[in-house]
Symmetry: D2
Subunit: 349 residues, 4 copies
């Protein structure tokens, strides 16, 4: 049994980790920390866990985490740099769900997150935990940076096209719609039921922190600098991300392939991926089809009128976009079947 | 492996059975029928099942169901009487999620459902599938009538009080709030997003079909005729039932017990029940704490001002109120661990 | 034109007052205060007011409010006691939407609100602003206490029965369901979209601050002490209160009347009331039918099985339950047609 | 007083017309038709209208409509062609909310709507009722085609740019998110609360009926053929459209203007428009800010990274996207102040 610790268990990615890990056959939940809730039973804060998780929150310290084989960090960005180093020094694997180790370039990180990076020396060894790209490196990693929710959804939709050089590296647009849980479990005015409900809005049109992460991933896939316009939207639902991606095809290549060829390309690229589902041509995936599940569903379209390639991609932001992907990484690191504990069927309706 | 058939798999209890059974380690999904969708892959209608269920819908007939060990009926009331008989005749167990075999009294059934009962001869052997009451009879049953959603929620909240003769048998009030999925997956005006959303309403105040079922169950528990006022409400959420139950205590007995005694009584009554969670005194259970889970959570209150006993009880109407309870019955019938395939943690948020 | 000031304009009752008053033909919006938002245009905080309200928030002080004919207090309880006195001293009418002047008994107030009452000397002249009961006193009042949302909904449903002595004064139950806006516009965890959405829960079962207010109003109507069990519930919708009220009839009197007599009684009682709509017998009012409107809709039922009287009553908690009723009071005080500015049709869907 | 008839009053645009017209000071609601509901009081179907509208539904016939000065058609496309002709023949103005007279080209109409056009001879005189473009023609019109919801939102966002030749006429993308009421008040599976709730999906990616209408309007504004990619999405809210529009600027011209110049251009273009609100630079309009209101709010952005122009535009699909715009047209036709009856403040929260 793998002994697991969670640092910062009071947010939505924390409770989602607990939901998944409490059902995982090879995991022993060992420590869960929260400075503010120290001593409180986890199941008192999250009553869905009653009967499933007996732990109490404890102080986040290297000492408390010492018995673990792996520690998940479900903390806001910037708060866990120091502790992550101490945990690694004890020979424990670290899987970080925050943005702290996602960007290779510390300067870029500092610019987008408005604070000094507290663990630059760890950046070179951090592995970007998108299994569909980095499975081999993940196997060897000590420190894994779990991708953000928007970046997961956008990259999976564009990888096959960029890897094959079928689209231009500029002019890409990602119009993304996220459920409100993406804002986290904090008492913020904008996330109130009466503020976010029955309404739709774009935000951060001028620039969102996930932009450099997406750009970095797409650039790697393309082998040359990619630029894109990324516009996130707040959608009145709890879970889910729907990305609508407009990809400017290289005309000759796309004409040669046709829509059927594109469809085949995606199917081939993801044939062996347990958590990417290429839907039949012409599908319109719904976010609810992946509610609670680690699946990413993708559909490929070509607009009749303009010929533009339109990719639709849906995930559950808290699962494939966070905690589920984190567990997927853990399975890879510990050489377990990658789907173990993750074969949850989406909750529909 | 138990070979399972489902008759009428296109509704919400059908897809919920598929979600649960596709993860059940001892089940082999064998047949799923729908007259209207014959030949269509189940996963085309319910994309959350893609990769989990490969079956196509087939014609509902005794012949098609012949290979099964057990058949779940997830049909509307009144449509499966004849087929149920034929299935039983083949030596197959039947677990019926409709109302067809819940009432002992065929006359009462015919009066509430406005049609002749098509299988009266089966009524004497039908077992009411509330494991918390009838576990022993369920073990021996050929034909199980899975309780309705409201009746499950109300009975579990009142059983301890009635069994101990602590409350009056008249004057009980059950004010129940149900999510919209209780209305089924049919294109009805009142269940539209724009009709049921952002609104609350009572319905069937003058009498609802679940009333005789609740009354029958409570009467059995009390050992004498129980009458109650039952008012269902349509609530703008997808899943969940919240029952608020006002129980007139027998003054002397309740005073002798006190709230602590009541709490202890409930805890004792359900100590060995895997799917009833008596919450700490003073709790306010939320329906979301059981979303997707087979748990019923109960809290006991006594109103400070009036001394009235108020019981709060929450279930997921599609799980403990239908498909989950059906699987729980199957586990009992086939002598499997009762929790097998049902230890899903509620999806929160 | 009546010059109107609003103290505490940043909450939901504040913005709702602005919506209604900006359309009122006899009102000139003159001052709106908020300590925290001083200098900010109101329409920047509430973009629905762009083009309708040009005011900026200003400091709440007697001086700033001096030009007003009437001042609405839309502050949390307990914060405006001193300022209310100063405003009254300038000869300005005060219409208070908080709970500060609703209870006649200062001791009871202090006990439920856990703080000393800061303006006891004003209590004797405060008029409880339920026009359906106190219209004549309101006409003469300097200081009006606008009823709470739950109390409005419950009292209007019970007044005809209690005034006529048709029901017992104990054993009444009010099971009330409120939209989330009742929790106010404050960044509280429990009011987050992902906490309150897709879920139903009771709260404050052991006792809620609106209980003494309801009891006081019902006791006045009955002419003798009334006790009731009041259980509020949080419902996943933005606006609306649905009260389901169980009223123990005095058997002989109710039998003499019958349901038709009860219906006639309610119709007569409210025949001249512009904002109480007695629906046809057997109706099930929906909260959405009053969304944005000052109407209270009521339906009378008698449960077939138990004979219990069940009254259904719906209001918009922010309109008839707060700001609309406040404007209705203003119209009465200033001898304007009572419906002026309040004939908004409910927004359906 | 203008005598108004409504044909097809049982849908959402019908009830919305009734809400607005019942408050309009110069309108006398005279006839409302529905074949299926003949004889039923309107307020029985739509209880929000109780006390505001006394009419009963009557048979849709030229005879019944004869007393009217103007008739609104709120029927599905294709059903009112013949009746519209008869009504016009009686000297009555027709304001059609369906798609029947929006496209100049009958062939294109027949192709997108899969049926013969039943009133081709009326097409030449039909005026496209977008006041921000066609105010002068509307004044003279007998027959007005009220624009669709998506087309209104997209055109208002692009007109200033296309009229000034600032963007390319190909490469435009409109990613639009609509509330569920856009699907109409019909018992369709996909519009159920449990199907459309808590989920997001694109639909009709390959081509939607509003595409030719948008293209026609944009082409007129540009003076040359415009092509665009239009992707509609179903959003879990009742009302509202949020259009996110990606407009490829002509580089030199845009650089010359800068974002400030673009902002000024929009402000100038709409300076005298009562129902277009150009928000401050950098704003993110929310659909709820126009809930129930006839306003269109627009914000202009330029993406920092790519320089792409991004326009955000929100309307209430049932008001500015249908019934409110219809009333605005009526006001123009009858030479009334254009805002009469339409100064409703958005319902927030």
């Amino acid at each position: 049994m793998i002994k697991v610790g969670i640092v910062g268990g009071t947010g939505y990615t924390g409770v989602e980790l607990l939901r998944l890990l409490s059902q995982h056959p090879e995991v022993e939940l060992t420590v869960i920390t929260s400075r503010s809730e120290k001593g409180i039973p986890v199941a008192q804060m999250f009553p869905n866990l009653r009967g499933h998780v007996d732990l109490c929150f404890s102080e986040p310290s290297a000492e408390n985490l010492a018995p673990c084989d792996v520690v998940f960090f479900a903390t806001p960005h910037g708060v866990a740099h120091a502790l992550a180093q101490q945990v690694l020094d004890q020979g424990i694997k670290v899987i970080d769900l925050s943005a702290d180790f996602r960007l290779e370039d510390a300067d870029e990180w500092e610019q987008w997150y408005n604070q000094p990076h507290g663990a630059k020396s760890l950046l070179p060894e951090a592995v970007y935990g998108l299994p569909e790209v980095n499975r081999e490196q993940i196997k060897q990693a000590r420190l894994i940076a779990v991708p953000g929710c928007y970046p997961t959804s956008v990259q999976l939709a564009l990888l096959p096209l960029l890897e094959q050089g079928l689209i231009e590296t500029s002019g890409i647009i990602a119009d993304c719609k996220s459920g409100v849980s993406g804002a986290g479990r904090q008492a913020k005015m904008g996330a109130l039921f009466c503020e976010a409900g029955e309404s739709m809005m774009a935000y951060a049109v001028s620039g969102h922190r996930h932009l450099p992460e997406i750009r970095q991933g797409l650039t790697r896939a393309a082998g040359s600098q990619v630029n894109l316009t990324f516009v996130p939207h707040l959608t009145p639902m709890i879970r889910g991300i729907h990305s609508t991606i407009y990809a400017p095809g290289k005309t000759a290549k796309i004409e040669a392939l046709g829509v059927d060829g594109l469809q085949a390309l995606f199917e081939q690229r993801y044939a062996d991926e347990p958590f990417v589902d290429v839907m039949p041509a012409g599908s319109h995936p719904e976010t609810r089809s992946v509610k609670g599940s680690n699946m990413c569903r993708i559909a490929i379209h070509q607009h009749k009128d303009t010929g533009l390639i339109v990719i639709l991609s849906v995930i559950d932001n808290l699962v494939k976009g966070a905690s589920g992907q984190a567990v997927q990484n853990m399975n890879i690191v510990f050489d377990l079947p990658e789907q173990m504990g993750l074969q949850v069927v989406g909750l529909l309706p």
